[in-house]
Symmetry: C2
Subunit: 336 residues, 2 copies
């Protein structure tokens, strides 16, 4: 067991796509837990588009990561030492442990997970924040009704692929928008989407007209930009647009492209609403029960794209912004 802790500290506020120099890969002494604390050995780290936003200065739903601070990240790990009576050595936990090998915690905001019930990366994916985002964003904000048409962008991504599958389980017709034939094939052939639109090869607006002849009732947006505008051009009366993210805009060096077609909200008496998963913390349990049930019954597929090696973090994160990940992107730090 190493007496050192390797970690990524934020070193600069990125302009455009983050580059390796925006972090400092640092080595320090492994910390020891104080009274009430536990020491977690980080095993798998969740890589998410939202991390780009956390690197920016300025007010948001969470404070920015400070320069010199460990890069914020959700992760799953194993309790290595504990002076907190609620956590025992050897238990597995999930929490915001950061991009590092070892993390101290006071136990607040972390949860135990059972590696016998699901592989550990699944607790960052379908059974983690990703699953919670898909579940509450779709069902609570989007409020789809059976028979309605649900369209999701970033559909082959971690959140999008769950959103589409949950919408199918709730009796909706589901159309996914993704980049590339292989992702589209995955959506229709493996996840059971009714249709998929390859935004790299097709006119998205025309394809939405074709696949959603009665209009889009729920649009779950992970992408923003031109795809949001294309969806707005085809919304149905009283449509609900869930703003979960805008990955196409996070690395802009010019102002964000707002939706030119936003007056479609007026014409169609529709609404566009943002969501932040952390608001649903009191209800995570309810979602976890349903998601775990679907997983166990084989009705929901959770796919993780696991890349090994803490030191690969900067370039691995970029896979998200290049659309190179297949499912939930996870950085594997250690086996156990």
């Amino acid at each position: 067991m190493s007496a050192e802790n390797r970690r990524f500290l934020l070193a600069a506020r990125p302009v455009g796509l983050p580059k390796a120099g925006d972090w400092k890969f640092d080595t320090c002494a492994r910390p020891e837990p104080g009274e009430g604390q536990l020491l977690v050995k980080v095993l798998h780290i969740s890589l998410d588009p939202a991390m780009r936003g956390w690197m920016n200065d300025g007010k948001s739903y969470l404070p920015p990561v400070g320069l010199g601070e460990v890069m914020r990240a959700g992760a799953v790990g194993r309790v290595l030492a504990s002076k907190n009576p609620a956590f025992a050595v050897g238990e597995h936990v999930v929490g915001m442990f950061g991009v590092q090998e070892y993390a101290l915690s006071d136990g607040k905001g972390i949860a135990k997970v059972d590696p016998e019930r699901a592989p550990l990366p699944t607790y960052l994916s379908a059974l983690g924040m990703t699953g919670m985002t898909a579940y509450f964003g779709l069902l609570d904000v989007g409020q789809p009704k059976p028979g309605e048409t649900v369209v999701v962008s970033g559909a082959a991504g971690a959140v999008g692929s769950l959103v589409g599958q949950i919408a199918k389980l709730k009796g909706c017709r589901v159309v996914g928008i993704a980049g590339g034939a292989e992702k589209c094939r995955y959506l229709t052939d493996e996840l059971g989407f009714d249709a998929a639109i390859d935004y790299k090869a097709e006119d998205v607006r025309a394809a939405l007209r074709r696949h959603c002849p009665r209009g889009i009732d729920v649009f779950f947006d992970n992408v923003g930009g031109d795809i949001l505008d294309a969806a707005l051009s085809q919304i149905a009366m009283r449509a609900r647009i869930v703003i979960c993210g805008a990955i196409s805009q996070y690395n802009n060096t010019t102002p964000i492209k707002g939706p030119s077609n936003y007056l479609a909200l007026l014409v169609n008496r529709a609404r566009m609403e943002g969501m932040i998963v952390f608001d649903y913390a009191p209800r995570y349990g309810e979602a976890a029960v349903e998601l775990a049930g679907w997983l166990a019954a084989g009705k929901l597929k959770s796919r993780e794209d696991v890349v090994a090696g803490l030191e690969t973090f900067p370039q691995t994160l970029l896979k998200l912004f290049k659309g190179e990940n297949a499912g939930k992107l996870v950085l594997k730090v250690a086996d156990s």
Copy 2:
């Protein structure tokens, strides 16, 4: 009594600001009511920003006005002849009678009004579609709670001035955005707004920060463009943005400017929702009772800017887009 009917027919689809040549000022024989019909002498015509949208081709919440058709407009008039048992000669009615001196109606979608209870132009203003728009847009879509901060753009306009006053009556703190010192003075000194921002003279974003230190809970938008973006920059958690109109964008010859700050919806878990007053037709009565009560009690002021002369229609309509109207713009066609 003239045997002729003068009227404005749509002659062209405008590009940018409408010009006189986009209509044909036409004279035809005054029609006679057939079985079930009534003939209305038009007295006052409602001039509204929405008329600009009705002149465009393409799908919207109402079909476009066809080329060669009478320009669509709400109006109040007097029944001149009737072969419809529900309407008697001499009664006053409000409906979509168009920009003309005489209109035929089958009685559907029109309502009787009482000139003893309120001046006729008020039935196009606080007691008409304008009042209904303000009432349901604010209360039903915006859902303000006492103590919350409501901001309204186009605040000295027909809808905006009512929205602000209704919000005050419901116990909110109200900030109006309008163009020019005189309009701003009117809002604070005569209508009781808590503050007014002159967008022609002030940095709207900075002024909103100053006047809404705890953020904007409800933003009622009649304007769009940069003002919508400024408001988004200052919304509070769970804010509601009512999209009623976007007068700054209606005469664009370039694509509409979408709100660059729309991700404020995500950060603040806020929603943006469009409304069309016609959806509330089954509830007009409920609003009319409350609005009439406030008017009678002197708690609500309805101001009409009445311009005489049907033939002035093209240039009078432009007052709306130049911000030259003081309150509800009404075209007076005849005295009685």
